[in-house]
């Protein structure tokens, strides 16, 4: 069954017809060719597919594309403006908060959501809030450092 969708992705209006069972992550990767959103586990545990839906971090493998109808979606491709990294992206680079880069898009978007809810998050809060995002490379230490630095930069 085909359904029609109308939503905003990275500040651009998107209208599409999709199979009703299409997952949001597949819609983003396959229909929109935004391959920065990754699939690491298919089961909602690794967080590599995290995007912002109306500003909230959502694992895009856990909802259907049709559930995002009418919403405003930000993927990792939509963060940097005019080639300038978002403060959280810049902090990840500065703190070496990424290695292979596969979990990174989800980490950065989860981090932005985290900072929106906890602008002054301490290390324990950051670690607890990252429960839903797996990284196998960094040991998390530099991710935690990056999020603290990114939070400070976002506070301005």
């Amino acid at each position: 069954m085909s359904v029609s969708l109308s939503l905003t992705v990275n500040d651009e209006a998107v209208n599409a017809q999709v199979d009703a069972r299409t997952l949001l992550v597949d819609f983003i990767r396959n229909n929109l060719a935004l391959t920065g959103t990754h699939v690491g586990c298919d089961t909602g545990q690794c967080g590599a597919c995290t995007v912002l839906v109306d500003g909230n971090a959502v694992k895009a493998c856990t909802i259907l594309a049709v559930q995002a109808n009418g919403s405003k979606i930000t993927t990792i491709e939509g963060l940097a403006k005019n080639g300038e990294l978002h403060p959280m992206q810049a902090a990840f680079k500065d703190c070496h908060g990424l290695q292979c880069g596969f979990c990174t898009p989800g980490m950065v978007l989860s981090a932005i959501d985290l900072v929106q809810r906890h602008p002054d998050a301490d290390e324990a809060t950051i670690r607890a809030e990252l429960e839903g995002n797996l990284c196998r490379c960094t040991g998390y230490q530099n991710i935690v450092k990056a999020i603290a630095q990114g939070a400070a930069a976002m506070r301005g």
């Binding site: 089961t43 491709e77 940097a80 990840f92 880069g101 596969f102 990284c135 196998r136």
Partner: protein
């Protein structure tokens, strides 16, 4: 910018690759979508051990969207997957190498063993069609534990491997060891299980195979740590294709940790099938497939003994290990519990006599191969658990017993084949103790005790053999390949430099580190250097990245190529400057006539090489593009001390890491930020092994019980603390960078340090032995048992 500022070696230069990863511009295999591509799905065995009476694919072939269905019977002319290392047993016989079919031939041997490949227009259609394949299984008993597999009467997995034995192999002087034990003042014994792990790179394995009728050639995008090795094995050994007809590209790869070294069945079947269906084929593993069918790691059962004199000097070590191979021999499976394990049992110590015997067993599980550290974590765990236990039993302080036995004179020939070129073990131990504040531990322990908590401190003074490897030595030990590396330095006409390396980066940051090396050597900005890796179509050759070898071996190959570039540049500069070649010096990006201010910049020489109007064409070819193969003369020996402090809640059994400190000696360091990141990641994988992770198969059915992230406890951010990591330097003596390698150290040192801390904490409560992982349930149970 002054030229000295171009020398960034030793600086934490931010990574060149990060912009693309941070903006979603990475190109991973699953991001590759050739026009008109199809999708593959692999039907896998639900049984651990079964004969296949019949496979009926008729319904699947007729299902919507299906392009083709292939089973093992269709793969005529396709050989089994080879093993890259021949181990010769104590009986003088070669190891047993039963066939490793690309798709099952008459029998399945583990849950996840591939039976059929369905190719369809969409992934869902391929998966739906696979459910229509009718397989008539004759399930037979399975065995998943390597010790059980070797017992009389165990289910026989391969006709060609009686008793499920792959080999029994030994290293060391048994008679000398037995004699030393006979006169020992004290003997410490341990029975150790090194728990089976699943590597779990966050990017699942994936492949995209295409065939072109235009040149009868194939292109394979694949999640590989070593694309040239993948191509060599696939073409020469399995598919019988010319290497020239297969291009293997490993683009951005999302972590490997060993699991992406190997030639796997899936991509092999896809390359074969891409010509038959004449369309590109794509496959990306679901995470459940990763758990089932990626090569696993560790899985040793060991009895280890240490003989000591009255002063705590080590006299001898005797180790018997049973190692699981899984159902088939993966690419490097056979050398992990032998060459990369027994040779490390000297550790940092002068133990004069060591004997190790290893029996490798086939089991009804996924194949076992290298996982971060690969044999060396297992060896360090044996050595450092023995040392900890011996010190405790003899009442010697943990640092003191290590100091009494440290190697201090180099080069040092161990009794287990390795020649350590250099090291400084006291310095790392001292520094680790300082940053761990060992002096304050007694007070912290007493304070914790007041709160009813048990505190413990654990040491691991590890060593690893990296920089694999001198090909002639590896060859005598059974390697079926060389272990050199290749670097090509192409200076472009306008002075920019493109470096082609046989190493592969899947998180290690080679694009930055190698650029630092090249830019500093040539005196050019780091931005003018481009690093190309992971493509057999662009890079001359390569052995890939594993065993912490990339900088020590791959980096040295680049240095050797740079030397050739500079040597040729001197000839060109001599001509341009009308001076003798012997008088030309190259420094800070300039070719200078010694003792004068007459010079030519690197860029001017590069331009002259490509626009040879004023050029010694009678003596010198134009162009500036040099290639070097570098074969190391020895292994490198990174070493260090990790110290872990834990606090255990006896009511819950939960182990909290309150402090983890590491002082490592990786030789010279190019980029400290990247090195620290490697240590952090390795330590957390080591903590994962010690506290959280364990691959569990049901002993009866052979079903994988830890087949998802809900059942297999990968460390999460709140499972671990931040660490204190630092380094000491003794430069490697036999490569020009003085580099040793840093990728695996954390995973090698951490498990032993952590478990020694756990044992230290629990000793007062009467608990004497605990295997990894020290889960709350296991710790609590041990505490209860000790009360009774």
């Amino acid at each position: 910018m002054g030229n000295s500022e171009l020398n960034t070696v030793g600086q934490s230069v931010r990574r060149k690759e990060d912009y693309r990863f941070l903006t979603g511009c990475g190109q991973y295999t699953d991001d590759v979508n050739p026009p008109h591509h199809t999708h593959a799905y692999f039907l896998r065995s639900p049984h651990a051990h079964a004969n296949i009476r019949r496979i009926d694919t008729a319904k699947a072939k007729a299902a919507p969207g299906v392009v083709a269905v292939y089973t093992g019977a269709d793969l005529t002319g396709v050989n089994g997957l080879p093993c890259g290392w021949l181990i010769t047993g104590t009986d003088g016989q070669p190891m047993k190498e039963p066939p490793h079919p690309v798709l099952a031939q008459g029998k399945v041997r583990y849950v996840g063993d591939g039976l059929a490949m369905v190719i369809a227009e969409t992934p869902a259609q391929a998966k739906d069609a696979a459910e229509l394949i009718d397989v008539d299984y004759d399930a037979v008993p399975a065995v998943v534990n390597p010790v059980e597999a070797l017992k009389a009467g165990a289910p026989q997995i391969h006709d060609g491997a009686p008793g499920n034995k792959c080999y029994t192999w030994a290293l060391g002087d048994k008679a000398a060891v037995d004699a030393a034990f006979a006169k020992a003042a004290h003997v410490t014994q341990l029975d150790i299980v090194n728990n089976r792990l699943i590597p779990n790179a966050i990017e699942p394995r994936a492949a995209v195979a295409s065939y072109s009728r235009a040149d009868d050639g194939y292109t394979l995008y694949v999640t590989s740590q070593n694309p040239h090795v993948e191509r060599l094995l696939m073409t020469a050994f399995v598919l019988g294709l010319p290497e020239t007809k297969v291009r293997v590209i490993a683009p951005d790869v999302g972590g490997g940790f060993g699991s992406k070294i190997y030639l796997y069945p899936e991509e092999t079947a896809m390359v074969w099938a891409s010509k038959r269906v004449n369309r590109p084929i794509k496959w990306t593993a679901e995470r459940s497939e990763s758990f089932l069918a990626d090569a696993h790691g560790r899985d040793h059962v060991t009895h280890a003994e240490l003989a000591l004199d009255p002063d705590g000097k080590f006299l001898a070590m005797r180790v018997h290990t049973t190692a699981a191979m899984g159902a088939y021999l993966s690419t490097f499976a056979s050398c992990i519990p032998t060459i990369l394990y027994a040779t490390l049992l000297a550790g940092q110590y002068t133990t004069p006599a060591i004997y190790c015997e290893v029996t490798a067993a086939f089991t009804n599980t996924a194949p076992v191969d290298a996982y971060r550290g690969a044999g060396r974590p297992e060896a360090t765990y044996v050595v450092e658990r023995l040392v900890h236990a011996a010190a405790s039993e003899m009442g010697i302080a943990q640092d003191e017993i290590r100091r009494r036995n440290f190697i201090r004179e180099f080069p040092y020939q161990t009794p287990v084949a390795l020649l350590y070129d250099t090291g400084g073990y006291d310095a790392c131990l001292d520094e680790a103790m300082r940053i761990a504040d060992v002096q304050g531990f007694a007070a912290r322990k007493a304070e914790a005790a007041k709160r009813g908590k048990l505190r413990g401190l654990g040491y691991a003074a590890y060593i690893e053999a990296c920089g694999l490897a001198p090909s002639n030595i590896a060859g005598t030990l059974g390697a079926r390949a060389g272990l050199y590396e290749v670097g090509q330095v192409r200076v472009n006409p306008t002075g920019g430099v493109t470096v082609f390396t046989g190493s592969h980066s899947h998180g290690q940051g080679h694009e930055t580190t190698f650029s630092q090396v090249v830019a500093s050597r040539l005196g050019i900005p780091i931005e003018n250097v481009e690093i190309v890796h992971g493509d057999t179509g662009r890079i001359p050759f390569g052995m890939g990245t594993y065993g912490s070898r990339s900088l020590a071996v791959g980096g040295t190959a680049i240095i050797k190529a740079l030397d050739k570039v500079v040597a040729k540049g001197k000839k060109i500069a001599a001509h341009l400057l009308e001076a003798a070649e012997a008088d030309i010096e190259f420094k800070d990006g300039k070719f200078t006539v010694a003792g004068t201010d007459r010079s030519k910049a690197f860029g001017e020489v590069a331009l002259a090489a490509y626009v040879p109007h004023n050029y010694p064409l009678d003596k010198l070819e134009p162009g500036l593009d040099e290639t070097a193969f570098y074969d190391p003369t020895n292994f490198t020996f990174p070493a260090g001390t990790h110290i872990c402090e834990v606090e255990i809640d006896p009511d819950t059994g939960k182990v909290a890491i309150v402090n983890f400190s590491a002082c490592d000696d990786f030789g010279n360091i190019i980029n400290p930020m990247i090195v620290e990141g490697q240590v952090h990641g390795g330590v957390v994988q080591g903590i994962g092994q010690a506290l959280l992770e364990q691959c569990v198969y049901d002993q009866e059915s052979g079903q994988l019980l830890t087949g998802s992230y809900m059942d297999y406890a990968l460390p999460r951010a709140d499972d671990v603390p931040s660490f204190k990591v630092t380094t000491k330097v003794t430069p490697c003596t036999h490569n020009p960078l003085g580099a040793k390698g840093c990728g695996e150290a954390g995973a090698i040192g951490a498990p032993a340090a952590l478990m020694n801390a756990v044992h230290d904490a629990l000793s007062a409560a009467g608990v004497t032995y605990l295997d990894m992982p020290a889960t709350p349930h296991r710790v609590w149970s041990a505490l209860q048992a000790a009360k009774h």
